[in-house]
């Protein structure tokens, strides 16, 4: 799993890490019982405060997504069902950001939803370009 942070992202860094772990579970980069990098490793790699990584891991642990095996490290939970479990918060995050952006531009919810449908129809129901670009070598997808 490769975590990258976006400095232009308005959300707190720990939530960005949480979301990237969720995303990695959805696209299969992370699977049940896979080890996660240690707090120390990830803090060094991203040059972030270790507390930020700990906060992200605590959040994921609280949701039952990962667990900590004392002295051995952090692992993805054994009975993880990314589709059921991880899609919802991920969708929620994307929707929240779209909604904030819409409000700031003085747009209504219906306008936004209608436009999203229109855009999706223009795409001809294809997977969005960014998703296909990122997910090379996928096996069927999660839809």
């Amino acid at each position: 799993m490769l975590v990258t942070l976006d400095s232009r992202d308005d959300r707190p860094l720990y939530l960005q890490i949480v979301d990237q772990v969720r995303r990695a579970l959805l696209d299969g980069t992370l699977r049940a019982e896979d080890p996660l990098p240690s707090v120390r490793e990830l803090a060094g790699e991203l040059v972030v405060n270790p507390r930020t990584v700990s906060q992200a891991y605590r959040e994921l642990e609280g949701e039952g997504v990962i667990y900590i095996r004392r002295g051995q490290g952090t692992f993805v939970a054994p009975n993880i069902h990314p589709d059921r479990r991880e899609r919802r918060p991920l969708v929620r995050g994307v929707a929240e950001r779209a909604l904030i952006e819409a409000r700031r531009n003085g747009l209504g919810v219906e306008e936004l939803v209608t436009m999203i449908r229109e855009l999706a129809a223009e795409d001809g129901g294809e997977r969005s370009p960014s998703t296909t670009a990122v997910r090379s070598g996928e096996e069927g997808g999660a839809a």
Binding site: L5, S7, S38, V39, R40, V47, V48, N49, T52, G106
Partner: protein
Amino acid sequence: MTHTNASASDYAVSTHGLCKRYGRDTALDQVGLRVPDGAVYVLVGVNGAGKSTLFKLLMNLERPDAGTAEVFGLDTGRAGSEVRAQVGYVPDRQDAPYRSMTSARLLRHAAAFYPKWDHAYADHLTHALGVPPQQRVGGLSKGETRRLQLVLALAHRPPLLLLDEPTDGLDPVVRRRALALLAEHLADAPTTVLMSTHHVHEVESLADHVGVLRDGRLVAQMTREELRRTVRSYQLEVPDGWAPGELHAVELRRSSAGRDVRCTLVGEEQQVTQRLTASGARVRQVSTLALEDAALAFLSEDAS
């Protein structure tokens, strides 16, 4: 925490009405610094704002003209050596006395001073930062001196790091490596960091507290989250002849093109937006600012 003599105070570093003058120049004016235990506190300010003076007063290398400073509850003036034993300090300038020693010799010399000196860790840092061991200290380049100072500051794993421009003189690759080592260092043991830097964007995701020094005064001091929440960029559509009116007091920066105005304002977003709306402006977009931009807003002259 493992350090001794900690007072009931939650602050690793606190100063009270700290003043320092050099002749007629005021270097520090009534500074009340508060660095919570375990914080990574970044001090921002232009050259000559008083950052290095503040570090020197904390290290008892200079005496204040008024006020006091405490490190882990110890008065820095009365217990200077006890304070220094608990601090890893990267000074803004190179110390002269050890110029004839090699780096390796100076590291052994320092190890004898600190009971908690970690030899294996010192070796690891020396290699990771590329400190030339057999070079005489006096012959080191500015960047090599900085690397050696970082090893000296970190290798005894002190509970407090005072880092005055720790990446000054380092090339971008080594700067990033030094900050990654610092992040790992913080993960290994609870450590409080007070640092100044001109490369604020580099420590953006390490910092959890921010202080802004301007002309010797601490004009802002808050957590990173509070800074993110209360200093934001507002994009406005304003009617002809619109004047900021009473917002002027909190307006920090303004640029305009036609009816569009962008300004950085201090305050809770909801309240600022209400005031803007009441003044006739329409708030088109509000965005958070990078640490550097938010901090620099306190350094710019008020819009006139």
